[in-house]
Amino acid sequence: MATLATAFPRTLPQTRMLGASFSWWLLIAPAVILMLAFYAFPLAEVLWISVTEPQPGFGNYERLLTSAALQRVWTTTLRICVITTAITLVAGYVVAYALVSAPPRLQRWMFVCVLLPLWISVLVRAFAWVTLLRSQGVVNQALLSLGVIDQPLRLIWNEFGIAVGMVHYMIPYAVLPLYASMRDIDPRLVPAARGLGATRLEAFRRVFLPLTLPGIVAATVLVFIFSLGFYVTPAILGGGRTLMVAEYIKLQILDLIRWGVGTMMATTLLVAVVVVLAIFARIVDFRRLFGSRH
């Protein structure tokens, strides 16, 4: 910035807006305009529709308190998100720990395996789970032929199926922040704790676990917020029977043309995300969590 300012010392007077110089604003202007036009404006429109359709007022929001169907959508969503986040965290923690403890060569391959699913379309993966979990799928066939069960288990078109698909999708998002926090831990700390008399379990509980807390919080926030608005996996593995918020919004707007209810749910979803972030921001320092401050 100093170079720009010194290059045009006279032609560009140092006017300041919101604490930044004019030339600085010029640089980010394209991004700001793009965000305003294609993000802030439609979002405002959504907000506007939610309080004007079908008639002006907070009628749509009232339904949130009165309609059992809407409440069921939200409780289902929250339940699935909590379950998904919990399972993803535990599984991700184990994977991240294995990654950190692996020798460098093996670690590269393990990373490829963790990240590979990210390059495969979420749609393909959801259908892959359908073929595995449906009543004539591999899992049920195997269990039937082994004689473990007499009739196929209902593994999809319900919350179980959704949770399986979502956990699968979310694991890399939990592994990466957890791995980052574990990698920064001095590898001598756990041996030091054991040398001082702590058992393996105590060394983990008193030293390793507390030091990975920032990673746990980051992974929780990331996975939970992602899960809240997840659409493709719940739509396919839920089979239209178990509705989560995102699918419900799509149903209201595209199929039932009830823009008012759809945009109201979208707005509540946004509020829910902001509330989750606000809660976690009270617990931890986000700027530190996402690496902009040490």
């Binding site: 001095d186 001598r188 700390l189 041996p191 030091a192 704790a193 054991r194 040398g195 001082l196 008399g197 702590a198 058992t199 105590e202 008193r206 030293v207 507390p210 030091l211």
Partner: protein
């Protein structure tokens, strides 16, 4: 305090990693209350031995005994040894006091008792005023003291130290060497100290075990190791040495004569078997003699390089008979003005040098 002292015996200890022998048949006895240093270059196996004593490395073969009790199968947390790691390994999420009380908390020591012992341990290292700080807010020297207090607070059977001073600057290191030695005297525990710094080893230890390529080369008090190195490696690693490869000409009762490139020198002590002999000669034991001055061993040469260290001059002298010799002479009233190309006459006594085993 004496009741707390323990001896440690390492018997035929070996640790192999595939084909590599990190430790190869090391037998070593550490006496009660001794300050022992395991000294060697990197890759000599000194840290592996320490880790085997601490219980972090399971030996391929051999035993470790505390007094007479074998401890080889015990996990680290059941050995009750204090350990100071390289880089200290303080817990960054705990305060100084929490770090020091950690060993007491995992042992379920009663709160009041624990607090008293933490205060005592912090006083021992003069850090009582910093108890509520985090390790990241401390200087390197202070962190080192916290690590010491944490390793001593639970009255361990031994204190193991893995290059605890290597991260500090030279001046601080010298100060902490003195402190560590005083601490050893005060607590009376057996200390096992690992370092690659020979000065550190010489200044602090009651005895030094020199290791090379996983093997124990020589074990003894610092003075004995310095004055009578057994092998060429010890003579070269502990301090500096010049080496004269000669041939024995004549054996007397209290010494022998040997020849190096035609020049004759005398050496005190018993002659080794065989004809060939390798003599180690410390640079500071060579003097500069005036021409005509009588001395048992003399050699003429030319100064080809020199440097000044305040207390002394280090000269490199090219001689016809003995090759290139390193000579250290006190700078105060140095008999010659060092200059490149100047001729000097070097002299040393028959007991200044020592025959060593070539290795």
């Amino acid at each position: 305090m004496a009741a707390l002292q323990h001896s440690l015996t390492v018997r035929h200890l070996a640790k192999h990693y595939g084909q590599t022998r990190a430790v190869d048949d090391v037998t070593l006895t550490i006496e009660r209350g001794e300050f022992v240093t395991l000294l060697g270059p990197s890759g000599s196996g000194k840290t592996t031995i320490l880790m085997a004593i601490a219980g972090f490395v399971q030996p391929t073969a051999g035993d470790i005994l505390l007094d007479e009790t074998p401890i080889t199968p015990l996990p680290p947390e059941r050995r009750n040894f204090g350990m100071v790691f390289q880089g200290y390994a303080l817990f960054p999420h705990m305060t100084v006091a929490e770090n020091v009380s950690f060993p007491l908390r995992v042992r379920n020591v009663a709160r009041a008792d624990a607090e008293r012992r933490v205060a005592e341990a912090l006083d021992l290292v003069q850090l009582g005023h910093l108890r509520d700080r985090r390790p990241s807010q401390l200087s390197g020297g202070q962190q080192q003291r916290v690590a010491l207090a944490r390793a001593l607070v639970f009255q361990p059977a031994l204190l193991l130290l893995d290059e605890p001073l290597s991260a500090l600057d030279k001046k601080l290191r010298a100060e902490l060497q003195v402190e560590l030695k005083a601490l050893h005297r005060r607590v009376g525990l057996t200390f096992i100290y690992v370092t690659h710094d020979q000065e550190e080893a010489l200044s602090m230890s009651d005895s030094i075990a020199i290791l090379r390529d996983g093997r124990l080369v020589q074990h003894g008090p610092p003075g004995v190791l310095y004055e009578c190195p057994a092998t060429r490696f010890v003579a070269d690693f502990l301090g500096k040495s010049n080496f004269l490869a000669g041939r024995i000409l004549e054996r007397q009762q209290d010494g022998f004569t040997y020849a190096v490139d035609g020049a004759r020198f005398v050496q005190a002590g018993r002659a080794p078997a065989g004809e060939d002999v390798l003599i180690a000669l410390r640079p500071e034991k060579i003097g500069i003699a005036a021409s005509g001055e009588a001395a048992p061993n003399t050699v003429e040469g030319t100064i080809i390089a020199w440097s000044y260290f305040g207390t002394s001059f280090a000269l490199v002298v090219q001689t016809a008979a003995a090759g290139r010799l390193q000579v250290t002479v006190p700078a105060w009233r140095c008999p010659v003005e060092p200059a490149e190309g100047r001729r000097v006459r070097l002299a040393w006594t028959a007991d200044a040098s020592v025959p060593v085993v070539p290795d």
